[in-house]
């Protein structure tokens, strides 16, 4: 079997170049590929198009890449938690394409399932529909939305084995499995990298066929965006 294990994030992203399109897993700060984001910041490439549900916060996640002006365009569903993002958007330095969250997820899924497009009712009759083909099925209108075409997908999983099989934990799963399926090259960083045979095949969320590189991440901060507790 081809060895998919790389030493660290620097090696995993070594051939990502300026101008490429990247998918980055996570919802808010939950389940984001922290190690690879830090490595991308260190590498200093720019003009990136990033497909990610959110854009991080000012000093964490994709916010770190924004701060270094590495991102040309964000394709997201919600980007409200980031002052630097807002500044770059309003000054015209950053391009943003906002798309419905389900459309974002399903365009990833379509890519991983080998389907060129999907039909969804989300956005019919709104500005999201502008310039898109509308089809009527059984009396209801749907927009045709294209599968994504990303050079790299970068995801974070809880456990993975050296064959690239992945298991996610709790709601840190979110966009990670569908993005893992959608990259021309998929990089997975995991909290625990184990040997082949240690994961139960019945428990695998993403089969290793979709994963090209895998490594055990380190120093996960797992920052909480909205710490909310029960009063009593």
């Amino acid at each position: 079997m081809i060895n998919k294990v790389v030493a660290n994030a620097d090696e995993a992203i070594s051939d990502i170049e300026s101008g490429m399109t990247l998918m980055l897993g996570g919802f808010g700060l939950c389940g984001i590929p922290e190690n690879c984001i830090n490595a991308l910041v260190k590498k200093g490439i720019n003009q990136l198009t990033c497909i990610s549900n959110n854009a991080g916060v000012d000093d964490f996640g994709i916010g770190l890449m924004l701060k270094k002006r590495q991102v040309k365009k964000m394709i997201s569903s919600y980007v409200g938690e980031n002052a630097e993002f807002e500044r770059q958007l309003l000054s015209g330095e950053l391009e943003v394409e906002l798309i419905p969250q389900g459309t974002l997820a399903t365009r990833c899924m379509a890519s991983g399932y080998g389907m060129p497009a999907i039909f969804t009712p989300a956005g019919v009759g709104t500005e999201v529909a502008e310039g898109k083909e509308v089809r009527n099925f059984n009396g209801k209108d749907y927009l045709m939305e294209m599968a994504f075409d990303a050079d790299f997908a970068i995801v974070k999983a809880w456990k993975g084995d050296t064959a690239g099989n992945l298991i996610f934990r709790s709601t840190a799963r979110n966009f990670n499995p569908v993005m893992a399926m959608a990259g021309k090259i998929t990089i997975a960083e995991v909290e625990q990298l184990v040997e082949i045979g240690e994961l139960d095949p019945d428990q695998i969320h993403t089969p290793g066929i979709y994963v090209h590189r895998i490594f055990q991440g380190r120093n996960y901060e797992k920052r909480i965006e909205q710490r909310t507790v029960r009063l009593i």
Partner: protein, 218 residues
């Protein structure tokens, strides 16, 4: 007139045993606190969880377990976790019985605007467009008028739309209204101490008043 809690309590009465429900951010989130005793409801959080539990106790927060508002939460016995595509799959295929969300404007044919104000920083629609395009039952929780005192129940929405012809019912601090099939807001209930005149004045779109309008029971 109702406060936010009152609106949440009234909406909670719309929830039936066995419902799968998606609650939006703001007043809708409060609804979870007033689900009647003995009713079994499963809350869906569109980042990928069915069976959302209460906030964790201090010190028991799990950064891997959040809701769609990015708040730390808990699971419950019987909870299930899934990816974002499946989450919107169950929304699109109408497995979720009821969606409750806030709005900036609702029109008399059930259009909703709640994601964008031209000229202001746009944060994005998140999952709102997917939810309103597919949900079989949508209840809007909102104030009847905006901060400038202008009605939010309009003939046509002035703000960019989130979805068309989708809202079924609206609960405000003044009233419960349903979107009539031929268009217009049919008044169903008045909030305690609110007159028909108060509601007429606050409603810019076509208001339909038929027969006696009862006061809300909360």
């Amino acid at each position: 007139m109702l406060d936010k809690t009152g609106i949440a309590k009234r909406i909670a009465k719309e929830i039936k045993d066995g419902y799968y429900v998606n609650l939006g951010i703001g007043i809708p989130t409060l609804v979870a606190n007033y689900i009647p005793e003995g009713i079994n409801v499963v809350l869906q959080s569109e980042n990928g969880l069915l069976g959302m539990g209460p906030f964790p106790y201090d010190g028991e927060e799990d950064p891997d377990l959040i809701n769609a508002g990015k708040q730390t939460i808990t699971t419950l016995p019987g909870s299930a976790i899934f990816d974002s595509a499946m989450s919107f799959g169950m929304i699109r295929s109408q497995k979720v019985d009821l969606t409750i969300l806030g709005a900036m404007e609702v029109s008399e044919n059930g259009d909703i605007a709640n994601w964008k104000i031209p000229g202001k920083m746009v944060k994005g629609m998140g999952g709102a467009m997917d939810l309103v395009a597919s949900a079989k039952n949508i209840i809007v929780a909102m104030q009847h008028v905006n901060k400038a005192g202008e009605s939010k129940l309009l003939k046509e929405c002035s703000l960019p739309l989130t979805g068309v012809n989708c809202v079924k019912k609206i609960v405000t601090e003044l009233a419960v209204l349903e979107v009539a099939s031929g268009g217009g807001f049919r008044l169903l209930e008045r909030a305690p101490g609110v007159s028909l005149e108060d509601i007429r004045k606050a409603t810019s779109g076509k208001l339909i008043i038929e027969g006696q309008i009862p006061e809300m029971q909360i």
